[in-house]
Symmetry: C2
Subunit: 477 residues, 2 copies
């Protein structure tokens, strides 16, 4: 589309009318604005005038174009809350001590949650239940023996082939024989840790990071050294190098794409630098990519693995965050450690569920998975924006909010006076779950932080829940 010169101020009137609607909340961040054709009919102006209006709104940061989809409302940059602070503090290796807190929280949560903003999972209407059930029934008729047979570790070859094929979109070229199918990414992570390290060994992690990374380190009797990470640019490589120099670090666990909880996608340059740094110290990288397919960018982000020449990267992922946590399917790729990982999987849980393997292989092969992921990641982006706006509106002054590049969690820094564990218990009484900050740190940092799951569909109930959380924050004086 070429920009056409116009001499009338018509486009400005159209644009300002829409700007007013956005300002007054008729359209929220993430909403699609009316189509060019609709607006052209409504204002009785030409299509090119409407396009002019949209370009003007885009230049002011109100809306953005999405390829093949139309224009959507953006959060105006003037209204963005500041980002959570980054504090580049050196840490020493420490035993992880969060399991009791996590266990307590799980116990307390049980059966009391109406609005689930704690665990990071999509709501049911963001999952492809209809398509999966159709495949399940088809397979149970076509291959009845599947329900009673199993495929020993490393698991189903058709599924491993599909994963190898997809790896091209990660910038890699995996071979099926280097892939092991697991019961979700958490099993994959545990297998990797047990492969590269033993009890007492030091593992470097981002701080904050996904709490099950820390739980795995704790339960295996290893120690963690926390590398502070910024919510936009990721881990501090200088601090990582300091740790590599000073401690016998055996591995580094990194969430490189759509970090949980920070939300960043590490830039390609930084991925390359990270891999090179680890190579210099001959330290393995366990790369967790469970949210990689949910980046908001048009292009699927690469893996740090794509810069790995020495075979030091082990990649873990799963289908739990995109299509179903109940299928229990994840995978791990490594050329160098494959035999050890596959054997450890065999003696830890023998095999992965065969029906799930067949269902996911078929969903991938049919193209259904790609269509689903394309569809939901736009919705997750809109949800993240809507949640972010509501937090901005309802939470106390001084609240800082992450701006994720993908996935569906927000990392929120509350004013210092607020204790997120107290907030957790108060919220639970109202039927709302959240994740308190300290579980994302080996040493209980982030006391005034929370993570919010934005995977569930935006609704008035969610709006009220965030309002409620804001009031509970205010009540901590």
């Amino acid at each position: 589309m070429k920009k056409k010169s116009v001499d009338s101020p018509l486009y400005l009137r159209v644009a300002q009318s829409l700007e007013g609607q956005i300002q007054q909340g008729a359209f929220r961040a993430g909403d699609q604005v009316p189509s060019v054709r609709q607006l052209s009919r409504q204002h009785r102006v030409s299509v090119s005038t409407v396009l002019q209006a949209y370009f003007w709104l885009e230049s002011k940061g109100w809306i953005e174009a999405r390829p093949k989809s139309g224009f959507y409302v953006k959060m105006p940059s003037t209204k963005l809350n500041p980002l959570p602070a980054f504090r580049p503090v050196q840490s020493k290796p420490t035993p992880v001590t969060t399991s009791e807190l996590v266990a307590d929280l799980m116990q307390a949560t049980h059966g009391r949650v109406q609005i689930s903003l704690g665990a990071a999972f999509p709501g049911p209407d963001r999952m492809p239940a209809h398509q999966l059930n159709a495949i399940i029934r088809r397979i149970s008729r076509r291959s009845p023996a599947l329900s009673t047979s199993h495929e020993h570790s490393p698991g189903s070859l058709p599924l491993r082939r599909q994963i190898a094929k997809r790896s091209v979109s990660f910038g890699c070229n995996f071979l099926p024989e280097d892939v092991t199918i697991t019961n979700g990414a958490v099993e994959a992570l545990n297998l990797c840790l047990r492969t590269i390290a033993k009890p007492g060994d030091v593992i470097a992690t981002e701080s904050p990071t996904y709490f099950n990374v820390l739980q795995a380190i704790e339960s295996l009797g290893m120690k963690a050294v926390e590398i502070p990470a910024d919510s936009r640019t990721g881990m501090d490589l200088n601090l990582l190098e300091h740790a590599l120099k000073n401690y016998r670090v055996r591995g580094y666990i990194a969430i490189t794409n759509c970090h949980n909880p920070l939300g960043y996608v590490l830039s390609d340059d930084k991925k390359r630098s990270l891999v090179e740094l680890l190579h210099r110290y001959d330290v393995a990288l366990i790369e967790d990519d469970v949210y990689g397919d949910l980046a908001f960018s048009p292009q699927r982000p690469r893996l740090a693995k794509s810069f790995d020449r020495a075979g030091l990267v082990l990649t873990c992922s799963s289908f739990s965050k995109t299509i179903s946590p109940g299928l229990r399917l994840g995978w791990v790729h490594s050329e160098r450690y494959h035999a050890q990982i596959a054997h450890l999987k065999l003696i830890t849980s023998i095999a992965s569920p065969s029906l799930s393997e067949a269902v996911v292989a078929e969903f991938l092969e049919s193209g259904g998975y790609d269509r689903h992921v394309r569809n939901v990641r736009i919705r997750f982006e809109a949800q993240v924006i809507a949640f972010s706006q509501a937090v901005s509106k309802y939470f106390p002054d001084g609240t800082k909010i992450s701006r994720p590049d993908g996935g569906y969690v927000l990392w929120i820094e509350l004013p210092k006076r607020i204790d997120s564990v107290v907030l957790y218990h108060a919220a639970l009484k109202e039927g709302i779950s959240i994740s308190p900050g300290p579980i994302f740190s080996a040493s209980g940092k982030f006391r005034n932080y929370i993570r919010l799951n934005c995977g569930i569909k935006w609704s008035d109930d969610v709006d009220r829940a965030i309002l409620k959380l804001g009031r509970l924050c205010e009540s901590q004086r």
Copy 2:
């Protein structure tokens, strides 16, 4: 039925005719003999005469009655091979060193097996695929959200309820809240070991025992002390007490019902003594009951757990050996350690496959599971007898064979000159897999032993495979 006096030798003629057929192999051990009505028609004699004939054959040990089912051919006791020798030798705690051998064997086996006598699994025609697929389709229509949802550890409550209900038949009264659902019994076993012991600790096991018990101990950096077990009466309690007295044993892993590979069901008295002995030393018992439902006795054998007053027993089981290894469903019960086990499961693999949980819960609740198990255990008994007869016929003189009380494996002691690992590789070249003895021992004992899987249906191909194995034994001179 009352025994009726007969003055004619008619019954004897009928009986001897059938005896001849059995001797000449027309009926094999485990086969059902013709019904009373059939034989009465065939020989034109009265029903009571046929019954007389059957009682005569029974008294001679040729056949046996099974309640509500009819008469079956027994293996005549005069033709039984001797039992494998029992050598009550004291052992010291030792690191397990079999994982390389096991990994090699798995690698070698891959894709080359036509007749699978290695891994202990039923053949496809002994699995309830039809029923399970019907349930899978029903659930996918009735509860479509199940395919995309999951139930955090400890897992599905309906399934935990069904397991608690079934525990009455084990002589126990489990509560659903003490049960954790796992990805098969091997995961359950790993969770139990990690709950009661840490790297470096000593675990007592039977010798021989299921190789994945040893693999788990090895991979967790623990040591094993081997307690010799007899193929009829089980572990030697004096040697166990010697180990408890002399080493800091943290737990004992026992397969109490239908031992793998020995086949015994431990007597109730011995189960009680075992539990009392362990209580005296305050040592946990990890009771593996995966074959318990497949005992050949009319009454389902109790668990050692049923004698546990102190909460020292952790029970592991699964549905892999009875209905499907591909569903990946096992469970573990413990009152005392439940919270730790459930938490460890959560941080090791989060959850078990939700569709599998729903399918098994429904199969149990509908009574389908009980019907299936009643049906297959008679077939497995017949298969075990048929395999045993063939081994007896084709293997070298001096071969000794176990007489299992349930399950579907045979433990075979070969003449001393025969190396079972050599035999393994030779058999594999012929497309036949077996399990060589040394993988059943922490220290590589049982070099001249093999385990045979009798879970697959008897056929001419199986007969030829055993003949082939016998010849391969003979060729090792």
